[in-house]
Symmetry: D2
Subunit: 275 residues, 4 copies
């Protein structure tokens, strides 16, 4: 499968038309449009349980939350670490929502795998090749975020690093690229999603929270993601965004998340899927 | 209206919540999702009449076509000029479709106004201030394309140059910005559309043909545009794209345009509009 | 001449190894490293005469100053127009410095030509093709600034628009491109200068004032421009930058310009030229 | 020290005006302009010894060479690993040149430290925070390359991750950022070098090989780096670039490197330094 004049892909490992990645009972890449929701960082037991219950009630399928946090400055909050992983597991226990959380270094893969259902590779680590190989040797699905600087071709090559080690359960996540435009935090590249659905069998989800950095734009871009052919979205939700330790301006309040889900449903159905 | 931490807007001229721009019987910025279709360049009488009939039949509301063509190289086809304008007028006469066509210089405004229903300012001319002022002194609606380099703020300032001369009938058109990604011709910035619907009263349409440069991606991005809140789209259609004098790789064949319209309708309706 | 894997140039008009553009007694593109200095905008008779005398004394070869100003917002100072041209001519009369000033529209070419020695095409107008053709029909040298979005290839194609009309006296001016980096106003692309000296016979100068937008960086980047192989520089100088009507933060005070010249000389000589 | 309107720096660890980083007998950040040269990858004993002797003879101060190679595709040559480190140490033994080589993962820091004199953090790992912390706990100088996507502010924050662990011997290396321009591999941002010399005490060197990706441009950009105020350069040299396993098009032949050194010297001296 090849379109566009400039794309030279070398995806060798996966040959099927569409790869479906199974997470518990969920099939990512099927007709079910997957919604992953949760706070940027796990901040406390109360916070993560509260969010987990609310997003479950509103219809989310998985819970996100960062325990190991890559932050631009070493003086910013760096996450609760293993304590955060335990709180995520507790939230899963209560709600049944599978957990997506980031792993930042090869030596963290073992411990994060004990608690997480999906291992997230953050944008900054998209070309951290030792880390990619390590999650490739793991039996957990991997959510691979696009680097802020990465072409679609480089992104697919990064997925190859995981797959070449034997782990074919890779979910791609578009989260915006870095451009000159500063009214939004990044530029969400939905064309890349449409392109990937033509050139790769891997499921693709979209993170409109990081993609825009602006809470008010998240619901529109969630709908646009579904219409562009994405297999799901990942959005940040926080009980009180103004008090969040990270990414407050792009986090939705509970009520806003509920309205996002309501507005999303008809669009998902209009493209022949369910949510 | 103000969202996002970086946006400092100075839109002074228009105060209403939403501006509706009237073109013949059509209202751009209303609940009607506007579809503008046609070839990149008017190439011959047969070609433009053929396209006009077919896009009309498939449900398009306006006809696009370039008579004065800004081309990167002086050795490329430069358009049919006034002869092209006459052919567009003939196509309108036969089909009833209002005509959108580009004007490239202040001294062309008068002649283009005689034939066109909407004056298009191309991306390269977004900050051609004497041209903006000249169309601002004209009584025709203006479709203002975003420059490949332009922030949302600069784009709105360009609209101000038109409005400050008295012409408030400005339609913004997102058509992709220039980034490092080369798998697509440009990076279509749908977040900018969602943002504009919050910070500006002007109608916003999207050009997924230039935005992606890849024919196969145009239908998905047309649907995504509707879902993101755009007021319409502009797409390139050609009887035989492989023979087109410009933009062949991004032009849809008639059958492809019909399928685009079919796939678009449910998404438009899912966001509470009609097409 | 062809280097680099991606550059496909179509420069047809000029065949000589190096084109020297003559302005009065000066030869741009010779072993003389040309320094063009002056305010962003002509603001008053006193201001422009004052600057002209000072930059002349410090060793500048030409005077720059804007009479017709392209500004992002229609509410910003738009320049003194023809009155500004007359003041520039008066400054030339007194100091002997040839004048470089911008022309923004085809219909301004005649009047600007009456006063200017070199017609400047601003970055925003790099692909204003009717304007390029009009200065191409003129007998004055043209200084063609690179667009913020323009590849080297597109820039050379823009020069072709001028040359194809018969005017081969084109001077290219690198002035920074738009990137994600916001600590500087633009990203000055000196590699493009080195590249152009390999692939094009046209003289190339650099504008480190717009290229950085930060006064303190201008002297270093002036030296770097000379070392990279540029044929000259263009810098903004103002008697009191804090009161400037445009571009104050990137304008040098008189004393700063004198020190720039002192630091520049040894570098120019180190690459075998004189200033 | 603070210039430019957008730069918000939080460098807390280093207070001195200028930090000099000592590598063997060499002082990086002093009046000596440091030249680091060598192949992209260590490919064989013969190759690395050959290059080491030649660059030493031509005046280089340190030897570069990759043993652990981060490559876009997992199917490309990945480096000789520890065997490569041993060959680098052998080359140092023979020539006396200190060795700069990349470390890609926290668990490699110990072994790379045994052989290297300077630990290089590659562009892709600029925000690999566990790796930054690990080299911060090491007593070897660190050469921190700028990420393709990184602002100057983020780059300085990355340096903080190293310094906060106690290792203040950080050398910054500008190597080009990713922009729309494709005639060069990256856009070398020399303004960032000039800026850093105003806002940070850390030494800054430039890599014009990666910065341009085009062999013919490397000598000009080496000179421009010196003129812009850099404390040194790092360039790729290979006996037969057409047979190189990586980065051939940007590698200099021996004779080309000798000429680069000859052309560089007068510019270095023109800015009051020696090489």
């Amino acid at each position: 499968m090849r379109i566009g004049k400039n794309l030279k892909l070398s995806v060798k490992t996966v040959d099927s038309e569409n790869r479906v990645v199974t997470v518990g009972d969920l099939e990512v890449g099927s007709d079910l449009f997957i919604v992953i929701a949760g706070p940027c960082s796990v901040e406390s037991r109360e916070q993560i349980l509260d969010v987990a219950r609310e997003v479950k009630k509103a219809g989310a399928h998985m819970l996100r939350g960062g325990a190991f946090k890559p932050r631009t400055s070493p003086y910013s909050f760096q996450g609760l670490g293993v304590e955060g992983l335990k709180l995520l597991a507790e939230a899963r226990e209560e709600t049944g929502l599978p957990v997506v959380t980031e792993v930042m270094a090869p030596e963290q893969v073992r411990v994060v795998s004990e608690y997480a259902d999906v291992l997230q590779i953050g944008a900054r680590n998209m070309q951290n090749f030792p880390l990619l190989r390590e999650v490739g040797r793991c039996r957990k699905p991997v959510l691979l975020k696009r680097g802020l600087w990465a072409t679609v071709e480089e992104w697919l090559c990064a997925a190859e690093y995981i797959m070449v080690e034997g782990n074919l359960d890779v979910i791609l996540c578009e989260r915006g690229i870095r451009t000159f435009e500063k009214a939004t935090r990044n530029t969400l590249d939905l064309s890349a999603v449409a392109l990937l659905k033509h050139v790769s069998p891997l499921p693709v989800i979209v993170d409109p929270s990081h993609g825009t950095g602006v809470r008010e734009l998240v619901p529109s871009m969630a709908r646009a993601s579904a219409a562009a052919g994405a297999d799901g979205i990942m959005v940040e939700v926080h009980p009180r965004p103004e008090e969040a330790l990270s990414d407050g301006p792009q986090s939705l309040r509970f009520e806003e998340f509920r309205r996002l889900m309501e507005g999303l449903r008809p669009v998902v159905e209009a493209v022949g899927r369910r949510v």
